[in-house]
Symmetry: C2
Subunit: 377 residues, 2 copies
């Protein structure tokens, strides 16, 4: 489980770190664009490189169904299949199968679910999730957890948390056994790292207990899952804060599935090292652009004759070249280039935002970052 | 009507030429990608530049309806609106409105049609088409013609041809009058060039007569329209050959709406200077790839584990980086990147093909080109 992680400097609770994956270094805090089915929707890989994406996320559920993890394994793993030589992370598939509320059944063994594509029946267990993620071959893989529904009372949340802990133990046992039994083709031990996931719903005491007991299992990194499921932003922050108190300071800390740009900044300032979210890419496809002046709904008629760039402070390829009027036209006309350009800009905005956070930590001064993150506050 | 055109050298009937537009030179024979609504679907403009696109085509009908030619004019014209500094050509809108068979009515005055977007009623006349194309501001604009339906008997074809000639005269009169009345903002005369269009259906005698009488009107370039409407490829070639006999050798000759790669080569060898077609871009979106080994339907399951590039002889960014297996996955999964990458490759293939034709003309040897164009023959 090789994932060297060095913290270079700190500013308050925020940490400037460096993870060394088998596919190069990742400077933290890092934002990871989501490439669900081996593609960040609409964006070629060289563009992602130009944007400075250091690590992207693939979804195990989607890749398992299509093209199938065995095919990806035959093609040399996800990196080679999608021609992405930088770092990759896969989720466990847990979040997606729990989202299939009417199509799945949860037992101690695992989750039986029906494919959203063809209705076929499948079983994900902790062991199966790890097996699939090993076939995909991402640098960082995730334990199979239960994402507790929201709202849930404390008793139900504890039960769910306990199962996540039992599943975490099964994931780690299976993963460790595979490491011993089957060295990779290169003859070296696997260079994948398996992270644990903290649950505990909206109860700070359960979050702390989940963190303590997950840390006892000794993972090379820890995620905070089950957030951004409908709770208030204050609640999200409190749950992150409660968990961060417990998580070891010398390991990467990853908050899954967040958030808006200002949240990214806030959580990084609290000491979170990794985040991912579909928001910049999904919002882009719906015409929502993140800018230094706030959010723009590009289809708004007030942009019809606006010759300015999407964001006057942004230096990305989209803002350097195209006007709001053109971006609006593309979106209204249903042109495929709309999604491509909007996604490129939103990713540039997110990646520039987190880059600015890293810069501020290096300078030891986070005060300006919050003002930029909340331009309308 | 400034459109200097120099023929640098010839090989047989094929000509290596250079058009000087207000937006830079265009080496001919040239293939023009189609950017219907101010965008070559899915492809950013810098990628088109990298691919070597010298001139692209916009559709007047689509731009008139959305975003509207007056908006484009306000935004500084189509070049500025879409941020494309190289040459542009717009069609007259004629072909599109004639295609709305159940929604249009043709009279001597022009064509009344209903928008495919909202059913609203509009009238295109020769004068109106030129007015719209002047607002769009492409370097080369086209006369409003009637694309004769196929099949059509000789009498009907002659009537249609005669109307196209009367409309060509009206287009030219209107355009010339505007040139005198309204110098452009820069104080210089307009740098747009208006081309005439030869019709005549599938009758060589009518094609020749149409060419002679269109040439009498004295345009800076001539298009051959009304082809690729369902006739055999031999018939297309014969109609082009009959027309080329008549068209002046010192003016650019443009065959509209063709064709397959091997047709592009063939017509260029016959002395055609300009061609455009939706085929590479539209086929790409349907998963059809043009390669040196013939056409590939990328969704075919035989490509599921094919680690080779789409075309082993192609040096484009797609073939340099991605496998057929990955391209197939993207297409089957409905990923937007499928259309983007497939379009990039097909355009690269077309633009490389026509570049090879230019190279062969320069070397004075076209013999190898035909073999490459018909790899499976």
């Amino acid at each position: 489980m090789a994932l060297p992680f060095v913290i270079e400097t700190q500013a308050g609770a925020a940490r400037l770190g460096r993870m060394q994956t088998a596919h190069g270094p990742v400077e933290t805090p890092v934002f990871m664009p989501v490439g669900t089915a081996a593609s960040v929707k609409g964006v070629p890989q060289d563009t992602l490189e130009d944007l400075g994406a250091q690590i992207i996320l693939g979804n195990t559920y989607h890749l398992y169904l299509r093209p199938g993890h065995e095919l990806v394994r035959k093609m040399g793993g996800l990196h080679r299949f999608m021609s992405w030589d930088r770092a990759l992370l896969t989720d466990s598939g847990g979040f997606q199968v729990f989202s299939l509320t009417s199509l799945r059944k949860i037992t101690e063994e695992g989750v039986t679910f029906r494919s959203h594509l063809d209705g076929s029946s499948h079983l994900f267990t902790p062991e199966r999730s790890i097996e699939i993620q090993m076939a995909l071959g991402a640098d960082i893989i995730m334990s199979f957890d239960e994402c507790t529904e929201h709202p849930a009372d404390e008793r139900r949340t504890r039960e769910s948390m306990e199962m996540t802990l039992r599943w975490a133990r099964r994931c780690k046992s299976y993963f460790d056994a595979c490491q011993c039994e089957s060295p990779t083709k290169q003859g070296a031990p696997s260079e994948q790292a398996l992270f644990g996931i903290v649950q505990g719903g909206m109860y700070a005491n359960l979050r702390r207990e989940s963190a303590e007991r997950t840390v006892e299992l000794d993972f090379p990194g820890y995620a905070i899952g089950g957030l951004s499921v409908g709770e208030s932003r204050d609640k999200t922050r409190d749950m992150i804060a409660a968990t961060l108190e417990i998580l070891p300071k010398d390991k990467p800390r990853y908050v899954m599935g967040v958030g808006y740009p200002e949240e990214i900044v806030q959580y990084a300032c609290m000491g979170v090292d990794m985040m991912d979210c579909v928001l910049p890419t999904r919002a882009a496809r719906h015409g929502l652009l993140f800018t230094s002046e706030g959010r723009l709904n590009i289809k708004n008629s007030r942009f019809a004759e606006d010759q300015g760039p999407a964001d006057p402070k942004c230096g990305c390829k989209v803002c350097s070249r195209y006007s709001r009027a053109y971006l609006r036209h593309l979106f209204v006309a249903g042109e495929p280039l709309a999604g491509v350009l909007n996604t490129m800009h939103n990713l540039a905005y997110y990646l520039d935002t987190i880059r600015a956070v890293r810069h501020a930590i290096r300078l030891g001064n986070l005060s300006g970052i919050f003002q930029e993150a909340y331009p309308l506050a």
